[in-house]
């Protein structure tokens, strides 16, 4: 610990944070480069995909369109312009909606975050609970049942599950509402956060909140099932490992109540692997939403991404790529910081 060189002492946690944030900024720049290059490697002509047939026959219009969208410049110049725009918060204009990509994203991203957020919340609660139960009831019926459930959760393809869930709960049993985020007859709450449930509460519209929460249940559970499976397994093995440690045995031998041992010792140590898995799972939840959104007609970023890609709307595709990349980065950052908070040894590595 005697490694401070200058006179000022920088706390290890702060140094750790600064290093992580700088790294994240560098990665964000990398993401812009990768999305730009990949987007521009796609075969197919955006002009043909966006201009009408007759307009395509007129070279003047084609040239004007190219110039308007900066496609007449060499690729490296296009990238620099793109980067310059990004620094000013300008993601370009979508070629299909003719609106700023940032405005489009502001509309779709919250819908996806609400869905993925609900899913991660459910998976954390259920996955950790199931994992703990399975570990405590090791090799008994509950353990076998939960392990089977987690196996199913991990193996079943999400889109298939989405179709089945929609059919069973919405159509057959008539338990859940249908497509979209909220009952169309109610309309939606004035957007503040973009999260339908939160906005409904802000507006004091209980009816909209109930409808929005109801619409969230099936798609969120479908999305969550995989993560629940994953978290159950990881929590189970992490808890089992900790349970075998000497200090846990010592704590128990001292006569501490089981609940205290579980929360203060066992779960706290098991938290690091759980957070890792949850962080990674959140990323895969975002990509999982593409298909789930299609089936539940959820107006999120998945549908926007699909539509942009199929109409070669390059600025929109880059915008989506950037946002998803940055969400991953932020999650990784949060996970890293949480490590540092939970386990001081990590700060020094």
């Amino acid at each position: 610990m005697k490694q401070q060189v200058s006179g000022r002492r920088v706390p290890p946690l702060a140094r750790f944070l600064v290093r992580r944030v700088l790294l994240a900024v560098l990665m964000a720049w990398g993401i812009t480069l990768v999305t730009f290059v990949l987007t521009n490697l796609v075969p197919g002509d955006p002009v043909a995909a966006n201009l009408g047939q007759r307009a395509l026959g007129d070279p003047a219009i084609v040239a004007q369109w190219r110039a308007e969208h900066g496609l007449d410049k060499p690729l490296w110049q296009q990238y620099l312009l793109h980067l310059q725009g990004l620094l000013h918060g300008d993601l370009g204009v979508s070629q299909q909606s003719h609106r700023p990509v940032s405005a489009d994203l502001a509309e779709f991203v919250p819908a996806t975050l609400e869905l993925a957020g609900a899913a991660i919340l459910v998976s954390l609660v259920l996955g950790v609970a199931f994992g703990v139960v399975a570990a405590l009831r090791r090799d008994r019926l509950a353990d076998h049942a939960l392990r089977l459930l987690s196996l199913i959760g991990i193996s079943v393809p999400t889109f298939w599950l989405a179709l089945v869930a929609f059919y069973v709960f919405f159509y057959r049993l008539q338990l859940t509402p249908g497509s979209g985020r909220v009952d169309v007859a109610l309309g939606s709450a004035p957007p503040v956060t973009g999260l339908q449930t939160v906005d409904a509460l802000i507006a004091g519209r209980w009816d909209i909140f109930v409808s929005a929460a109801g619409h969230l249940v099936t798609p969120a559970l479908v999305l969550a099932l995989y993560t629940i499976g994953l978290l159950t397994r990881f929590t189970r093995s992490a808890v089992l490992e900790v349970l075998g440690q000497d200090y846990v045995r010592a704590a128990r031998a001292k006569g501490l109540p089981g609940r205290t041992v579980l929360f203060r010792y066992v779960l706290r140590s098991a938290l690091v692997p759980i957070i890792t898995v949850a962080g990674l799972a959140f990323g895969s939840l975002l990509s999982g939403t593409v298909l789930v959104e299609a089936i539940f007609a959820w107006p999120g970023i998945g549908q926007y991404a699909y539509k942009s890609a199929t109409s070669l709307d390059l600025p929109a595709v880059m915008g989506v790529g950037l946002v998803v990349g940055i969400v991953y980065l932020v999650i990784n950052l949060v996970v890293d910081v949480l490590y540092g908070v939970i386990d001081p040894r990590v700060r020094l590595q």
Binding site: G44, G52, S179, G258, P299
Partner: protein, 526 residues
């Protein structure tokens, strides 16, 4: 051990309560719409870019604009053979077919209460033409002028008997020019009014736009200032929904109309729902490239004959499902000038083999390109391509299937680089002149490598059809053109797939329309 299990049980119970809380709210859901709320929910797979009439060209955009804007002329129900007055109370085409004179109806108002004037008409139509948006071509070479406050003249350089059939296109909807100009509307490519038009709509139609989102949902509300008959629904929601989900939604009453179900999906619908099956105006066809630089095989006229005789049309029709029809020529059955069903090609394997032998090609092999993920009326291209491959194998032609994503496939198709292609054509406007694009040197002709001057006789027949005036003369001219195209052209027309629309029992008055699919304002409540 007891305490451990208790803890776990508490955790589990908490989690389950949380999950149950969420789903508890849903039981109070009443099905949306229905008769009482007067909200109509329409599920459709969005093909939508804009609601600006001057830029609209996609099917969903036309549904929206048909409800928000009025055009000078329109069609009554699904009959597209006779344009009828809308904002214009009457029209007259000069004998040479070059001048169309329209008398404006009095008393029509925009959603803000302003009267619809001749100036609005001139501005709107000039804007569409000169803004160079996708539908600009509809008015190529047409001069728009106001003769007096109630008279508009449209003058074309060449005879343009199709103009009355073009004017009902919702892209030619009349906008409130003063209001639109305040929001950036101009009559050149610098126009900036699109975003504003998407947010509100500036028409005189039965509906206005409440909210508009190109990838998820469009909400329309009844225009309180509408001068015509008030529409039956106060609010109409169009949602972007996958076909499989559309089916479940309409069956459960979550929506009242599903627009994009395939023939298979509408089989076995409960009797409480109405299913409308109509042959769509889309025509699936094969093209055989005539450019010897692209293919020595497909440019051989005897080869094309072998393909035309080798395809099993009845089998393709079966694939397309109930409600589909064989396409005897490029012009679909709904339009003036369509060939009668008796003239449709029939399979003749022996004849096909003879033609192939006469071509001098031994065991030819060709590449067939088509879009892999595009569907037409809910039907994918793949099964058709496979069936054609099998059909032609019996004749002695090897077909190499080359599916590609539509954006990639379109590049080759538009540049005339495909050896053989499987595509479809939907009418830009319901007039046979739209199908002159299949002639040598024209849009689709060039895609088949068919350059101007390549088929003098067919081009002469096309010229005659283009300038014919009067329904009878036009019918005969277009029939003759198609007969000649079928005899020696590079296109093999296959089927018109079925458009299947499912509606709740409560919805009345639905007609499939080849241009705007559905006129929302025509729908009633039972």
């Amino acid at each position: 051990m007891a305490t451990r299990s208790q803890t776990a049980a508490v955790l589990l119970a908490g989690a389950l309560t949380l999950a149950a809380c969420g789903s508890g709210g849903t039981s109070s859901q009443a099905p949306a719409g229905g008769g009482g709320g007067r909200t109509l929910v329409i599920d459709t797979s969005f093909d939508l870019k804009t609601a600006d009439p001057g830029r609209t060209y996609e099917p969903t955009g036309l549904v929206v604009d048909k409800a928000v804007y009025e055009t000078l002329l329109t069609f009554d129900g699904s009959d597209v053979t006779k344009p009828v007055p809308s904002l214009a109370e009457s029209y007259e085409l000069s004998e040479d077919g070059k001048t169309l004179t329209l008398k404006l109806k009095q008393g029509a108002t925009f959603a803000d209460g302003a009267p619809v004037t001749a100036d609005d008409v001139v501005f709107s139509l000039t804007r569409v033409r000169d803004m160079k948006g996708t539908p600009s071509f509809l008015l190529d070479g047409v001069e728009v002028a106001k003769t007096d406050d109630t008279t508009i003249t449209l003058t074309s350089k060449a005879a343009n008997p199709a103009l009355p059939y073009i004017l009902p296109n919702p892209a030619l909807g009349i906008i409130n020019s003063k209001l639109a100009q305040q929001h950036g509307a101009t009559t050149d490519p610098q126009d900036k009014a699109e975003q504003w038009l998407n947010s509100t709509g500036a028409g005189s139609g039965p509906y206005t736009i409440e909210s508009f989102n190109v990838s998820s949902q469009v909400t329309l509300k009844a225009n309180p200032k509408y001068h015509g008959t008030k529409p039956a629904y106060d609010k109409v929601v169009l949602r972007n929904v996958e076909a499989a989900t559309q089916k479940l939604n309409v069956q459960r009453g979550d929506s009242q109309i599903a627009l994009n179900l395939s023939g298979d999906q509408v089989n076995g619908m409960p009797a409480t729902l109405q299913v409308k099956k109509t042959a769509s105006a889309n025509v699936l066809f094969l093209l055989a490239n005539q450019d010897t630089g692209v293919s020595k095989v497909t440019s051989n006229p005897k080869f094309v004959e072998a393909v035309r005789k080798g395809v099993d049309y009845a089998g393709l029709l079966e694939l397309a499902g109930e409600g589909a029809a064989q396409a005897p020529g490029v012009i679909p059955s709904q339009l003036l000038g369509a060939l009668p069903a008796e003239q449709a090609a029939k399979r003749d394997v022996e004849g096909a083999k003879a033609a192939l032998a006469a071509s001098g090609l031994a065991n030819p092999s060709v590449k067939l390109e088509y879009p892999s993920e595009l569907t037409v009326n809910g039907l994918p291209f793949q099964p058709f391509a496979e069936r054609i491959q099998a059909n032609l194998k019996e004749v002695g032609i090897t077909v190499d299937l080359q599916p590609a994503p539509v954006t990639t496939a379109l590049d080759n198709y538009r540049n005339g680089k495909e050896e053989m292609g499987l595509w479809y054509w939907g009418p830009d406007y319901p007039d046979p002149s739209d199908y002159l694009a299949f002639l040598p040197g024209k849009t689709v002709g060039l895609r088949a490598g068919w350059k101007a001057g390549a088929a003098k006789e067919i081009e002469a027949a096309g010229e005659k059809a283009a300038t014919a005036v009067g329904d009878e003369a036009r019918k005969a001219a277009y029939a003759d053109l198609q007969t000649k195209l079928n005899a020696s052209g590079p296109f093999v027309t296959l089927v018109q797939p079925s458009q299947n629309i499912v509606t709740a029992a409560s919805v009345t008055g639905l007609e499939y329309h080849p241009v705007w699919t559905v006129d929302i304002a025509d729908l009633g409540v039972k």
